[in-house]
Each structure stands twice: as structure tokens, then as C-alpha cells.
């Protein structure tokens, strides 16, 4: 079929009239002013990093999982309470509701840093360097303060040079691992904020 300028315009007019007659309506298009910003995000369960209540949170992450596209990297979009949690039932306190600010803060330190004795500034070091130094100092502190027997001659094998303090986000499983590790080092002073 040959399409001339005239038939094209005629067809367009007839088509538009037919669509209008069939109830083609722009109202829903107008109604959606804003798209849901988490509609393409994947949900990641998390625990609030602040107090001992340990509210469950859902972190909405874009550019990850099923929605991964080639030109995005995973990024945090939104954090809100987990409605399935018996602890908080989806709600959060003002501090917990502002957790995004903690996660995305420009003041957040993302690499190990070292300040030598007497130095007045921090220098960035590698993770390997940091772990090596930690291990060295831990071993030294343990050897220095290790108590093999108490005053009565009982074998105790205590490491009194260490104590461990945990935060509110330590889960049961993490707590178990930490306790195992610390006991292996001979630590007796274990303390944690959360009673979860």
C-alpha cells in the first residue's frame, strides 16, 4: 500500500479518534507523579548498628542481584525497619531511621590507618600491614600478661592482657565465634552491649 502524506494524516486522525472513542485516557499517566524509589532495589536484611535493642532493618540496594545492570555498582538507596521482626515490627527510632547517614557519611573511615607514637597525623596502611601489626601486638600482650597458675598453684591459663567489648550488631552466630576465638586466646573479660 502506498502511503502518501494525505493518507498518513487521514489515518492518524482516524486512529486518534478511534483511541479517544475507546476510552484511551491519560489520567493514570498523570496520576503517577513519582516512581517508587525502591522499586528496582533488592532487599538486604540487617541489624541496626546503634543500641542494644537490635532492631531489624531492611537495606534497599540498587544495582545488585536480579536487577544488576552493566553500568551500575551496588549502591544503598534506602534503609527502613523490617516489618517481619518481632523486635521492632518495622519501626525505628530517629537514630535508627537515620542509619543511611552513617552508611553514606563522607567522614566514614574506610581504610586502616596508623598513627605512630609521637606522630601527630594518621597514615594510611594496607590491611595486611594492619593485621600483621595487630597479630604481633596481640601475641606480645598475651605473652607478657599470661597467667598460667594462680596463687594456690591451680592451672588457670588466663590471658589478663585482653578484654573484649562487642557492639549491638553482634548476632548470636558472631557472638559464638568471637567467644570461641577469645577463649582460645585465654581471655576471660568478655563484655557486649547487646543482650540478643
Amino acid at each position: 500500500m502506498k502511503v502518501t502524506r494525505r493518507t498518513f494524516i487521514q489515518g492518524g486522525v482516524v486512529g486518534a479518534a478511534a483511541l479517544a472513542g475507546l476510552g484511551f485516557d491519560l489520567a493514570p499517566a498523570q496520576a503517577m507523579i513519582k516512581d517508587l524509589k525502591i522499586s528496582r532495589a533488592s532487599e538486604v536484611r540487617s541489624v541496626c548498628p546503634y543500641c542494644a535493642v537490635g532492631c531489624s532493618m531492611i537495606a534497599y540496594v540498587g544495582g545488585q542481584g536480579k536487577t544488576q545492570s552493566f553500568n551500575t555498582t551496588p549502591h544503598l538507596i534506602h534503609i527502613e525497619g523490617d516489618p517481619d521482626s518481632p523486635v521492632n515490627g518495622g519501626s525505628l527510632c530517629p537514630k535508627g531511621a537515620a542509619t543511611m547517614q552513617l552508611a553514606l557519611s563522607s567522614d566514614r573511615i574506610e581504610h586502616p590507618r596508623y598513627r605512630a607514637p609521637g606522630a601527630n597525623e594518621w597514615t594510611r596502611i594496607s590491611w595486611d600491614e594492619a593485621l600483621d601489626r595487630l597479630a604481633r601486638l596481640m601475641k606480645d600482650a598475651r605473652d607478657e600478661r599470661f597467667v598460667a597458675t594462680d596463687a594456690d598453684g591451680n592451672t588457670v591459663n588466663r590471658n589478663e592482657g585482653f578484654a573484649w567489648g562487642g557492639g549491638a550488631t553482634i548476632t548470636n552466630e558472631e557472638g559464638y565465634l568471637v567467644t570461641k576465638f577469645m577463649r582460645a586466646l585465654g581471655v576471660v573479660g568478655l563484655e557486649q552491649q547487646a543482650r540478643l
Binding site: P28, S39, C93
Partner: protein
């Protein structure tokens, strides 16, 4: 769920005649009306709603300064759509009443902002009662600011647009509750159908009265046709101390654009009357054929060689 189920078809738009776009709406069943309800008795003033609102709506942070008591910001701003207002009032007996109120858009049934707005489609009221601003259509005239009986909309001097609470229409449209409701740790902010919220509110008022708050009331003033964010107010006798007007009303807009709008009707009537008169005249007089001498000229012209 379709959008119609959540009442998301447009009921009214600012500066636009009664909408003809709702042809698909089934008027046999009433549209779902939603409402928030703030139970001031349960509110602990923690401001989680404020933070959740800021975070969800990506509103920029505003530095806070200690100026009075517990309140974070002195007033609503274009970037603070939800503000906990604290007011310490000495009662008649010498006791202190610490009044806390979540201040944000009340989503009136008769929105003063919508009636005052001269920009077509800048203020939209949905079937479910949500009143939202469309900043794309906003012309920044601030008539809504003066039209609002609760002093809610705020003008942004940078973008030259007006902003306020959207009742998280993006969340509501997907079946989620608004961000403030979700965050509230005491359940003081509730969300549901208007019917359910009224039932809860009235029951709560009775409970408060039994506890000795004889003037407890559900704040849902008729002057604005009712609200889609109601309050349960324990001390109804000092309503104004909470910052709530006792009898808010929506005045008919008398702005210049609304006068133009009225004139538009006059013009339309005149145009139609003119067309009708022309039709009547045509029917009465009929078509006039050209006089015979003109026909002769035309025939001669046809015969003559063109060129």
C-alpha cells in the same frame, strides 16, 4: 491491585474545571479514602517520623540549632515537611502540659491550597484524599501558602516552587504505608481507611475521657470538609496551644487569576451563544444562492480558455 482500588485516580486539579478524566471510575462503589491519624496521647516526641520523612523523600539536611526545648527546627521549610512541635503550657491549676504535635500537611477534603492555586494541575487531589503538589506545573506564585488554613506549604527560594508532605503517595500507590507511619515506634501515627481511623479515633477519645481528659477530641474539622490526617487531641480545651486552629475554614479564592477564570465562563457562554444564533439565523433564512448575473459571469469564465 489497580490504581483505582487505592483511589489514585485524580479527583480534582487546581485551576482546572471539574475533571472529565475519571470516565473509567466505577461510581457504584465509593472510592477508597485513606487517612493518617496521629494519636497525640501515644506520641513520645522522638522525631522518628521527621527523620524517616527526610530520608524517604531525599530532603536535604538542615543544620539545627538549640533555640527552644526539644524542637529541632523552628518551622517547616521546603526541605522539612514534617516537624514535631513542642509547646510547654501552664494549665489553670499550675500544672504543666507538654504539648507535642506532629506538624505536616493535613490533606483537607476541601484543600485551600488547591482552590487558591491558579496553575492548572499544580495541586492535585486524588480520589483517596491525598493532596499533592506537582512541582512541574507549579508557577511559584505562593497563593497556596496564603490559601492554606494550617500554614503548611513552603516556598523554596532556589527552585521557586512550593513543597509540602505528599502523604508518601509513591509508597501509598504501591500499598506501603507512609514513611512516618512506618517509622513510628509507639504506633502513635496510624494509617488506614478513613473509616477505620475514625473508628479508632472515636474509641480512643472515649478512653481518654474515661481517664479524665474531659475535653479530649478527634480533630477532624468540618470547615475544611474533614482531614486525611486527623489528630486525637487529649486536651481539646487548649487546642490552639497545640497550634491547631479551632475552626479552620476555606475561603473562596478571590485572586486575579480566579477572576480571569470566572470571565472565561462568560467568554465561553458568549461564544456558544454566538454559534447558536448563527445556526438559528441560517435555519431561518436558508442558503442564499448567488444572483443570476453572477452565474452568467461564472459560466463565461468556465468557457474562456485558461491561461
Amino acid at each position: 491491585m489497580t490504581t483505582t482500588d487505592l483511589g489514585l485516580t485524580i479527583r480534582r486539579q487546581s485551576a482546572t474545571p471539574a475533571s472529565g478524566t475519571n470516565i473509567r471510575r466505577d461510581h457504584s462503589t465509593p472510592a477508597l479514602e485513606i487517612s493518617k491519624l496521629v494519636d497525640i496521647d501515644l506520641c513520645i516526641g522522638c522525631k522518628a517520623c521527621e527523620v524517616a520523612c527526610k530520608e524517604w523523600n531525599d530532603l536535604q539536611v538542615e543544620e539545627t540549632h538549640l533555640f527552644s526545648g526539644y524542637q529541632s527546627h523552628p518551622d517547616l521549610t521546603p526541605h522539612t515537611w514534617d516537624l514535631m512541635r513542642f509547646n510547654e503550657v501552664e494549665l489553670a491549676g499550675g500544672a504543666l502540659a507538654w504539648l507535642i504535635r506532629k506538624d505536616s500537611c493535613l490533606h483537607c477534603e476541601e484543600p485551600g491550597c488547591l482552590l487558591a492555586c491558579p496553575a492548572p494541575g499544580a495541586v492535585i487531589q486524588y480520589e483517596n484524599g491525598i493532596v499533592d503538589f506537582n512541582q512541574d506545573a507549579c508557577i511559584g506564585c505562593q497563593y497556596c501558602v496564603s490559601g492554606c488554613p494550617f500554614d503548611i506549604p513552603r516556598f523554596d527560594t532556589v527552585t521557586k516552587k512550593v513543597y509540602k508532605c505528599t502523604l508518601c503517595i509513591d509508597r501509598v500507590s504501591t500499598g506501603l504505608e507512609p514513611a512516618c507511619v512506618k517509622a513510628c515506634p509507639t504506633g502513635a501515627i496510624r494509617f488506614g481507611t478513613k473509616e477505620d481511623m475514625l473508628a479508632y479515633g472515636l474509641e480512643k477519645v472515649e478512653k481518654l475521657k474515661a481517664r479524665g481528659f474531659s475535653e479530649a477530641m478527634l480533630y477532624d474539622p468540618v470547615g475544611v470538609g474533614g482531614l486525611h490526617m486527623m489528630y486525637v487531641v487529649p486536651r481539646g480545651e487548649i487546642l490552639e496551644q497545640y497550634g491547631l486552629p479551632v475552626d479552620p475554614t476555606v475561603t473562596a479564592p478571590t485572586s486575579f487569576p480566579s477572576l480571569i477564570g470566572a470571565l472565561r465562563k462568560v467568554g465561553a457562554t458568549a461564544s456558544w451563544a454566538g454559534l447558536l444564533a448563527a445556526a438559528v439565523y441560517f435555519l431561518k433564512t436558508g442558503k442564499r444562492y448567488p444572483p443570476p448575473e453572477e452565474e452568467a459571469v461564472a459560466a463565461a469564465y468556465e468557457k474562456a480558455p485558461h491561461g
